[in-house]
């Protein structure tokens, strides 16, 4: 996995707020779960 590329990616939450992924784990560990789908 290219963690640097993943860190630079920006995704939205359900309210449209943008989150840069790398910011999630910059200062604390994160358990990042890829769900197959929301269904």
């Amino acid at each position: 996995m290219d963690l640097q590329a993943l860190a630079g990616l920006v995704l939205e939450d359900v309210e449209g707020t943008e989150h840069r992924l790398g910011d999630l784990w910059a200062a604390q560990p994160v358990v990042l779960v890829f769900l197959r789908h929301f269904g």
Binding site: E12, L21, A26, V30, V33, F34, L35, H37, F38, G39
Partner: protein, 136 residues
């Protein structure tokens, strides 16, 4: 149904994850409407992000399954467990072949743990996730 079952399992351990100084975040394939329904139905308290075009999943090298990984005999025990727990299959979205994965990352750009699901019933054991947090 499997992904909702897994999400519900993780929700039950979120406080334990938080006590270890970590945060739980989910990334899903699907649009905002399905994500909101998922959050509401499963009472998901943690951050859920939308990966509608699959870019994040591709970078993370999340696996894709054929029919054996999506509905083959090996997936049946997991399907039965999920059904018994009250979960049912909803729409699979635009990328039905994508499987799930779990990572423990950080602090900083460090991969502490990764589990790439091998089929729809395969998920990272919660004990392994907690152990990875303890090891950091």
């Amino acid at each position: 149904m499997h992904c909702r079952y897994h999400a519900a399992q993780l929700r039950g351990h979120e406080s334990e994850i938080n006590e270890k100084g970590a945060r739980l975040v989910a990334i899903g394939t699907g649009d905002r409407r399905y994500a909101q329904a998922f959050i509401d139905d499963e009472e998901i308290p943690f951050l859920v992000l939308l990966d509608e075009d699959g870019t994040a999943a591709e970078i993370a090298e999340v696996k894709k399954g054929g029919w054996m990984q999506l509905a083959g005999p090996a997936t049946m025990p997991g399907a039965l467990r999920a059904t018994a727990a009250g979960h049912r299959q909803h729409r699979t979205g635009r990328r039905p072949r994508q499987l799930g994965a779990t990572f423990v990352l950080g602090p900083g750009d460090v991969v502490r743990y990764e589990h790439l699901d091998s089929d729809v019933s395969d998920h990272a054991p919660v004990e392994e996730i907690l152990d990875a947090l303890d090891a950091g």
